[in-house]
């Protein structure tokens, strides 16, 4: 029954799985860079991080 259910959905090919994994890693890296960037700027600005000139 479980096996039948599995086959009803979309079955990704090897190429699709591989490219999806690569895209996921790239998104994770980009988010990591964003976190590091915000952290670094917070350290650099210190309390002034809340002062944003218009």
């Amino acid at each position: 029954m479980d096996e039948q259910k599995k086959q009803e959905g979309i079955v990704l090919t090897e190429a699709q799985l591989r490219s999806r994994r690569h895209r996921s890693i790239a998104i994770a890296l980009a988010l990591g860079v964003l976190v590091v960037l915000f952290f670094a700027v917070t350290l650099v600005k210190g309390p002034a991080v809340l002062v944003r000139p218009m």
Binding site: T13, Q16, I25, A26, L34, F38, M54
Partner: protein, 312 residues
């Protein structure tokens, strides 16, 4: 005759096989590199100290914003790109990425680049970056490109804004110097792109893009190239006598300007055969060197002043 509509027989849900490289291609890396360079110059000539982390953040946001503009441009121009030899290998015409995926990618990057620049650096820079993306995508891509032969003249403003955004990131304000850099890129754009359009006019005609050589013919384009080159050389030289940039810049601008003018006259004079094609390609190639060298000398002045102030 049996006609098969390949879109009609694709019944299942779309599953992407796009690789990371396809998404990087959407960012137009070569355009991005020029944007990064001109923005770096705008940031470096600003008369204030900018912490390296903030400088890096500003340049990164401007680069990502430029990439977002490129992705949104490709999302909207898949039909044109498919018809042109120069662009037929882009991810959308090759079927690697759909227009919808490119649109989502571009919008996400545009949002994050503007918000990050605004929050971490300042909102003048963030606002200017948002305006730059808007101008390139809405004013140039959606409105002007398919409607008027003046598309790249007006649209060129988007490509000229990065040094202004970078200056705003450094100083939190705007003044004359970044607008001088803006003017140089703005007046550089028409001779550069019309030179390209002259030897790619068949491509543009096939795609239905009303570039000047397609609409007004090659001779009118050659005249416009010459006129805009005269304007460019004057605008690029003006900051020296006006006292904004130093003699090193002035002499470089004078020599490079003479080269640009010489090649533009060649393009105007040689109108047929291989000599004409060669003159056009030479002007196109030299125009890239011209802009790069003008901005490089400004960067060199700043670096020299920092490491060897007694020389300057």
């Amino acid at each position: 005759m049996l006609v098969v509509d390949h879109n009609a027989i694709e019944l299942g849900p779309h599953v992407s096989e796009a690789e990371v490289g396809d998404y990087i291609a959407l960012l137009k890396p070569r355009v991005m590199s020029l944007v990064v360079f001109t923005a770096l110059v705008g940031l470096m000539i600003a008369p204030v100290y900018v912490h390296p982390v903030l400088a890096f953040t500003a340049i990164l946001c401007i680069a990502v914003g430029a990439g977002a503009s490129g992705a949104l441009n490709m999302a909207l121009e898949g039909d044109i790109d498919a018809k042109m030899t120069r662009t037929a290998n882009r991810p959308i015409p090759r079927g690697r990425i759909t227009s919808g995926e490119a649109m989502a990618f571009g919008m996400t990057l545009a949002f994050f680049s503007v918000m990050t620049l605004g929050i971490l650096v300042n909102w003048i820079a963030g606002g200017m970056l948002a305006f730059t993306i808007f101008f390139y995508v809405v004013i140039y891509t959606m409105w002007l490109k398919r409607r008027t032969a003046q598309n790249i003249v007006i649209g060129g403003a988007a490509g000229a804004l990065p040094p202004v955004v970078a200056w705003a990131a450094a100083t939190g304000s705007l003044s004359v110097e970044p607008w001088l850099l803006f003017s140089i890129i703005f007046f550089w754009t028409p001779p550069h792109f019309w030179a390209l359009a002259l030897f790619r006019s068949d491509d543009y005609a096939r795609a239905g893009v009303p570039m000047l050589p397609v609409v007004a013919g090659p001779d009118a384009t050659r005249l416009q190239i010459l006129l805009y080159t005269v304007l460019l050389v004057a605008v690029a030289l003006a900051p020296w006598p006006l006292g904004y940039f130093d003699a090193a810049y002035g002499v470089t601008s004078l020599m490079l300007g003479a080269g640009m003018l010489w090649l533009a006259i060649d393009v105007y004079r040689l109108r047929a055969g291989k000599a004409a094609a060669r003159a056009t390609r030479r002007l196109f190639a030299f125009s890239i060197l011209y802009l790069f060298a003008l901005f490089a000398v400004l960067l060199a002045e700043v670096v020299f002043r920092a490491i060897a102030p007694w020389v300057w």
